[in-house]
């Protein structure tokens, strides 16, 4: 008696969202199988990998990153190198320096940086805010205006600022927006409903349902995504069918394992190796749980995860 294959068939599928333009545009989502189950049915749009760059330049303390970007003086140089990284599907620029509690870079300064990136690369551009909701709303509005026609993705609209972000980036400038919620399926759905009520079409919205580094509450991330995908596919819940984009790098590179020095923890070995392992482990786990794209920082992580996705398709 042979093994009876029983592929899971679902009434629903995730929606597709296109970011960027021209040959290098990227389509996220569209699958109607559980994450990476390409043996159940073909996954037309493989999960994508974004390379994170920052308004504050590249991290000179991580040798692999410093070596990769060596010689890049301006944000445009950095963006070009990031775009040339093997495995890169899109560029994600983090505007951490705009945080009012940090450097508090002006909106105009950030707009100029994003414009420079837009002129330097033909890959799709994702703009990661500074995590201050008010400032993000202002940043996203001006950047969306300045990069009209580039079909960028701004991340993220949250419960606090979705109205402004939807109205400006989503409606006035026809860019794509990310809906960010904190590891809870109900919050994720609620925000999608609210954004759709603002009049933003579903194929202009991706989700970031929350993230964490491996070992730091990742069970909530995994279970939230498991449940979102089950609702999207099995229950055909059209308010949870947006593709998921997960910024992995920020969490992965800020936990203890990735930052404490080898001098303080000699048995742990080189710091960089720990950061890379943390970034890869977290990214692979996110993809296994349902991320349609992950955002990474280290060239080694980008290469490994791109290869990982390729071999599973």
């Amino acid at each position: 008696m042979a093994f009876k294959r029983n592929p899971q068939k679902f009434p629903g599928a995730t929606k597709t969202v296109v970011i960027g333009t021209g040959d290098r545009a990227v389509t996220l989502g569209g699958e109607n199988v559980m994450p990476l189950y390409s043996f159940d049915a073909p996954i037309e749009n493989r999960p994508k990998v974004g390379v994170e760059i920052s308004d504050s330049g590249y991290d000179k303390n991580v040798p692999g990153i410093a070596a990769y970007y060596a010689g890049a003086e301006t944000i445009a140089d950095i963006a070009k190198k990031a775009a040339a990284m093997p495995g890169a599907d899109f560029i994600a620029i983090s505007l951490e320096g705009a945080d009012p509690n940090g450097e508090n870079k002006s909106v105009d300064e950030c707009v100029e940086l994003c414009k420079a990136v837009g002129e330097a690369v033909d890959l799709p551009i994702v703009v990661l805010g500074c995590k201050n909701h008010d400032k993000d709303a202002k940043l996203f509005e001006k950047i969306s205006d300045a990069l009209q026609g580039k079909n960028i993705l701004v991340m993220s609209a949250s419960e606090e600022n979705y109205k402004t972000v939807s109205a400006s980036a989503g409606l006035a400038y026809s860019q794509k927006i990310g809906a960010e919620s904190a590891v809870d399926i109900n919050l994720a759905k609620q925000l999608n409903v609210l954004i759709s009520q603002m009049g933003v079409a579903a194929d202009n919205v991706v989700m970031n349902v929350g993230s964490a580094a491996a070992g730091y509450g990742f069970e909530y991330v995994a279970s939230t995504m498991d449940r979102v995908k089950a609702a999207a596919l099995a229950q055909n819940d059209n308010m949870l069918q947006n593709p998921i984009v997960t910024p992995v790098s920020d969490d992965a590179w800020s936990v203890k394992e990735s930052i404490v020095s080898e001098a303080d923890f000699p048995e742990w070995g080189p710091t960089e190796k720990r950061g890379v392992a943390m970034e890869i482990t977290t990214a692979a786990a996110c993809l296994a749980s349902g991320s349609n794209a992950v955002i990474l920082r280290h060239p080694e992580s980008v290469a490994a995860i791109a290869k990982f996705i390729g071999e599973l398709m």
Binding site: M1, A2, F3, K4, R5, N6, Q8, L36, Y37, S38, F39, N101, A213, A214, G215, Y216, G217, F218, E219, A222, S223, D226, R227, A230, S254, V255, K256, E257, V260, E267, W268, G269, P270, K273, R274, V276, A277, M278, I280, T281, T282, A283, A284, A285, L287, A288, S289, E300, S301, A303, A304, I305, K307, F308, E311, L312, M313
Partner: protein, 443 residues
Amino acid sequence: MALKGLDIFKLTPKTNCKECGNPTCMAFAMKVAQGSVPIEKCPHLSAEALATLSEATAPPMKSIKIGAGEAEHTLGGETVLYRHDKTFVSRNLFAVSVCASCFDEKLPEIEKIDYERIGEREYVELINCVYNGDKAAYVELVKKAAATGRTLVLECQCPDAARAALEVCAAGKPVLNGATPENYEEMSKLATEFGVVLGVTAGDIDALYDTVAAIEKLGNKNLVVDVGVGSVKDAFATAVQVRRAALKDQDRTFGYPSIVNVGKLAAGDENMQTALASLFTMKYGSIVVMENMSYAQALALYGLRQNIYTDPQKPMKVEPGIYPLNGGDENSVCVTTVDFALTYFVVSGELERSGVPMNLLISDAGGYSVLTAWAAGKLSAGSIEKFFKQFDIEGKIKNRTLVIPGKVAVLKGEIEERLPGWKIVVAPNEAVGLVKFFKELNA
């Protein structure tokens, strides 16, 4: 097929004797059907009824025990495909491959990884001994590996060498990973003779299924399924389909734990092995075999595993106590928060970043987050006072400043009353504000 309560009721004596602890046989039958009471609780079932029922109420995926004594581990026994449906029960194990020529070089690296994380020992639980054609060398390798006290996996498809290896290590209950469609009869006989678990592999999932069925026919149901090393895609497809067939489609032929050799799937590529080990930790690998395990890989992978195998109904807790940070001593400021693991990690991470020496005091708050613990009465001025007495904080620490979480600022007055002589300071609401807060507090 799972039986309904009524079907089980028909097989009970229907005497309502209460010896099982339930008021009626009907109530008992309902509980058995839910899986909350084992069928053996009824002392009056006929042997025949018991056999029918144990077969029907047996879990869809077997629990397989490997190793002996302190190195004993349980694999499988899962009942759900997604942890939010109930919980995963048997965390996956990691193995590192060794061969006759590389054992001495690899052993120190394997033994170096041994630490505790939230109450769990994290180490390389298994050693995968690879047979490379030289029987005498293999026996020597197995002897040396067995001497480490870790449970072994014997990657060996040659019955002759396997017998020689088992003769020196069977007491440690290794896994004999070597049955194929060609040799399964002989290998199964060996595994049964030595009382060890047999690993089964085949070229594709159909041959694998047939081979497992054939071995079961021989009466051997002490198995693990090796998902193969043909390609990453096939290995993942097999791992998922094996588990899904068992748990969703009730196909017990595949109701066994799995073994995945990511070391072979991505030979020489450490980063790819990390990615695959993460994937198979998430989705249905029971034993994950790697070429090596670096400390960097261990920190990330064991953290992930601990998260995924947490029971969603039981929060992860850290042990109550005094945790000195940044070289804190008896003169350093005290900071308190709850024992919920996630809170602990986030808070201690930020506190460490502040660089300020301090004592983090973790009291027993039932494993809840700050606000939940406060609402449930598990974090109160009284609980903090009790903790101070229990751990003799005043005797151990000379500093008299205590920082409390911003979310329970309301407790300040009452804590001041209960801990006379202490200066109570309220921290910010969110952990992200701690670095700034402590730098200013210290200034």
